[in-house]
């Protein structure tokens, strides 16, 4: 088992791509920058199961994104956040 590539608190960018198969990154989150909220376990990545493509078991992370970054004219508290789970191969370090 390889060590996690990212650590809690690290800024990351979620990839903006659309593989032609089942994947679990909602379009609203693609290309967004957030912070690793926690490092989760290793799991079979969903793309693996579809039509024989994809990656072996991957590290999963929770990524925290400020709501005002996600939506035009977000009508809520500026401290509001949205958190999603993203697999390692969808993440890259962000400044």
């Amino acid at each position: 088992m390889t060590a996690p590539k990212f650590a809690t608190g690290q800024r990351v960018r979620i990839a903006d791509r659309t593989p032609p198969m089942h994947h679990r990154v909602p379009s609203y989150a693609k290309g967004q920058v957030g912070v690793i909220e926690r490092v989760c376990g290793m799991h079979g990545e969903p793309e693996k199961f579809i039509r024989g493509n994809g990656q072996p078991a991957q590290r999963l992370y929770r990524v925290s994104i400020p709501q005002p970054d996600l939506w035009n004219s977000y009508s809520g508290g500026n401290g509001d956040i949205l958190e999603i789970e993203v697999f390692e191969h969808w993440l890259e370090p962000a400044a």
Binding site: T18, M21, H22, S27
Partner: protein, 108 residues
């Protein structure tokens, strides 16, 4: 925000009031749920991801016009047909027989 890549990719897209009414799970819905679980444990599909993939491949119209368990039913049927576990003809014939049975029961 990126373009949605399927009828299921709804986060942030729609409006309208949330319908708060409760819905008792009907017996046939429990049966669909059980069928999906058994399809997994019996190896007819290899992972839940296959079912979700099947649902995501429904047309926008099929997705939006169907209830939650209707989507599961359609997706599992499509997946098992493409895997060769059942044929479309056998499904259509059986569905017809069920319709006739239901119509007869409704009249009695």
């Amino acid at each position: 925000m990126s373009e949605p890549w399927g009828p299921h990719d709804v986060g942030g897209r729609q409006g309208g009031p949330v319908d708060l009414s409760e819905h008792d799970t009907a017996h046939w819905e429990w049966q669909i749920d059980a069928m999906v679980r058994l399809a997994l444990t019996k190896g007819l599909i290899s992972d839940f991801a296959e079912l979700r993939d099947g649902i995501e491949q429904l047309t926008q119209e099929d997705y939006e016009s169907a209830s939650y368990y209707e989507r599961w039913a359609k997706a599992l049927a499509n997946t098992l047909v493409s895997r060769g576990v059942v044929t479309e003809d056998a499904l259509a014939e059986k569905a017809n027989a069920i319709r006739e049975r239901q119509e007869t029961e409704a009249q009695s």
